[in-house]
């Protein structure tokens, strides 16, 4: 997706900011109500213009058709950072809410460490829930690139415990 919000220069910035707000929200509201994204959208109000274009791939369904060249000058917008960034790779997640343990018992060697090579089905930890000890197994083959949860920490269902780089197998 590319988008362009281009206010024309003017010496009275306050009304312009308002106008920009109105135009942008108008676009958002319009897009929110559309089932599918259009390929291009432009909204202008006096000095203020909002233009957006989408490549075909981003319009979800169907096999990827060649993306038509977008002719307008484009400035990518940032992705909001409200979700903590997770490294790329395959995540191994907690199968249940409980306490995560990296080792079979206190003081023992952890099941795995960062940099270890793991195979599919290999145990990488334990989640304890109400005295049930539930093994956590890798569902991918590859190298462990990150451990996200400390030994003995509380985890929720689905919380990512570690990340595996499957390319590194």
């Amino acid at each position: 997706m590319t988008s362009l919000i281009e206010p024309a220069p003017t010496d009275s910035p306050a009304p312009l900011a308002e106008a920009l707000d109105e135009v942008r929200r108008s676009a958002q509201s319009l897009l929110a109500d559309l089932g599918h994204r259009p390929r291009a959208l432009r909204i202008r109000a006096g000095d203020v213009v909002v233009e957006m274009e989408w490549t075909v791939q981003e319009a979800a369904a169907g096999p990827a058709a060649p993306a038509p060249a977008t002719t307008t000058a484009v400035v990518p917008v940032e992705v909001p950072a409200d979700e903590p960034a997770l490294p790329p790779g395959v995540g191994v997640c907690a199968p249940i809410v409980g306490t995560f343990y990296r080792a079979p018992e206190p003081g023992a060697t952890p099941f795995v460490a960062e940099g270890d090579q793991v195979r599919r089905g290999q145990q990488v930890g334990i989640v304890e829930a109400m005295k049930l000890m539930i093994p956590v197994e890798s569902d991918a083959e590859g190298r462990i690139v990150a451990l996200h949860v400390a030994d003995g920490a509380a985890v929720e269902f689905g919380e990512r415990l570690l990340t595996i780089d499957p390319q590194a197998g």
């Binding site: 249940i96 829930a129 929720e156 269902f157």
Partner: protein, 455 residues
């Protein structure tokens, strides 16, 4: 009082319990499945824990996950809401074992009253009237036939472990009995893992009247009048009201006292409901006990001015009831309509989906309990209850007019989503409902193709 309450439920009841906890200054811990990640109670709560995937047996019904969430959030008490684990003695027991206060009756009481056979025995002992039938389960076809012949047809064969409208079968013809007896046992076995059944007289035109009771842990009990829940489709309530229309005052008193007497005798603690059938001669018969807050509790709250969840929490904290039966007075009339995401034209099939638009009614004497919101989703994983719309008015005709106004304000849009709103409006207009002389057969009349054309 305790400091943190874990709400072991979802949807509108989780939010409703959370609201009262907040008003009492209690910390709110919520649980949610991956399906309910965006539910309002997750935002409302002081803390929320994801306990599993969508299917309830892996999340809201999965005891270890709930107990673990209670431990992680430092909860001291657990409110089970309705449905899910709310009437599982095992759950109440597990809470006790972990030192948690279970907001509900003691496990042994849940056990006894959850089994319809022992519940009937307990209430018969306390002097409550029962429908003619067996108290002990009947274990062979011959015995069933003899009992049925004694009490007279039609009879109803019910699973001891049944509930929520499932596990029961009406038998009109003696010849059908052996086959239907076998069928209901086999159904009961597969639904509840318990094939015991009992038999009682079936009242085709009875009214479903229930009494709200509060019992504290000091042996005090009182009732908060009746609710009439006779508008049901497939034994699922869709319109409830308080008080029950047209009951003589003496009967109201009698049923209230009987309900309190029965629950106190059973050692009940907390908020509970005693369900009765009332026949056209105004005779009442004990049916079952619900050991939890009911979906339809708001109508009692509106007439009595009592926050029932607050009372549940106070009782769970060991506090005594702070009003007497004499001080409790009802005012006016309250009606609740359950808005379900379902299609009345396709046999009330659930219609889950995303809500693109949601306008809820407001204004004078209207209360809405819901966890639905525009942009949110009605999940196919759970029951299709979208909102409870409740109204209060000084009298029943005004309450009906107000409910019609409120329902007309409701607007729900979403691809594939339909609601029973128009069906409810039709029921509210029906001459029997307007006259207050309807019984549990009302919805049948509305959905029966023949009578439908006339309306």
């Amino acid at each position: 009082m305790f400091d943190t309450v874990l709400i072991a439920n979802r949807g509108e009841i989780a939010l409703r319990v959370a609201r009262t906890c907040r008003e009492l200054g209690l910390r709110v811990a919520a649980v949610y499945s991956t399906e309910d990640r965006d539910s309002p109670v997750v935002r409302f709560a002081d803390q929320a824990v994801c306990i599993g995937p969508g299917p309830a047996r892996h999340s809201y019904l999965y005891l270890p996950a709930i107990m673990e969430a209670a431990r992680q959030t430092g909860a001291e008490a657990v409110h089970p809401g309705y449905g899910f684990l709310s009437e599982q003695a095992d759950f109440a027991e597990a809470c006790e074992a972990e030192g948690l206060i279970f907001v509900g009756p003691p496990p042994a009481v849940i056990d006894r009253l959850g089994d319809k056979s022992t519940a009937r025995a307990a209430m018969a002992d306390a002097g409550l009237p029962l429908l003619p039938g067996t108290i002990e389960p009947v274990s062979d076809a011959e015995a069933v036939a003899k009992v049925a012949a004694d009490i007279g047809y039609p009879v109803i064969v019910k699973a001891v472990a049944g509930g929520g409208g499932r596990g029961m079968q009406v038998v009109t013809e003696p010849d059908d009995l052996p086959r239907q007896y076998r069928e209901i046992r086999s159904t009961a076995q597969s639904l509840f893992g318990d094939d015991r059944v009992y038999v009682e007289r079936y009242l085709p035109a009875a009214r479903h009247i229930e009494v709200q009771v509060l019992c504290d842990s000091h042996g005090n009990g009182l009732h908060l009048g009746q609710r009439d829940c006779s508008v049901q489709r497939r034994r699922q309530k869709i319109i409830e009201e308080a008080p029950a229309p047209g009951l003589p005052r003496g009967l109201v008193e009698q049923m209230g006292h009987a309900a309190v007497r029965g629950l106190l005798a059973a050692g009940y603690v907390g908020a509970g409901t005693v369900e009765f059938l009332v026949d056209d001669q105004h005779r009442f018969y004990f049916m079952e006990v619900n050991c939890r807050i009911q979906v339809e509790h708001p109508v009692t709250e509106l007439t009595h001015g009592v926050d029932l969840v607050r009372e549940q929490l106070r009782i769970a904290a060991g506090e005594p009831l702070d009003v007497s039966q004499e001080e409790l007075t009802a005012r006016g009339w309250a009606i609740e309509c359950r808005i379900n995401a379902e299609d009345p034209d396709r046999d009330f099939m659930p219609t889950p989906g995303r809500l693109t638009e949601l306008t809820l009614p407001g204004g004078p004497f209207v209360r809405v309990d819901t966890a639905a919101e525009a942009g949110g989703r009605i999940s196919a994983a759970y029951d299709p209850l979208l909102a409870k719309i409740c109204v209060w008015a000084p009298d029943r005709p005004q309450a009906i007019a107000r409910m019609r106004r409120a329902l007309a304000e409701l607007s729900v849009e979403g691809p594939g989503v339909r609601t029973n709103r128009d069906f409810l409006l039709t029921a509210l207009k029906h001459e029997l409902f307007v006259a207050g002389t309807h019984d549990t057969s009302l919805v049948g009349r509305l959905t029966d193709p023949q009578t439908r054309e006339e309306s």
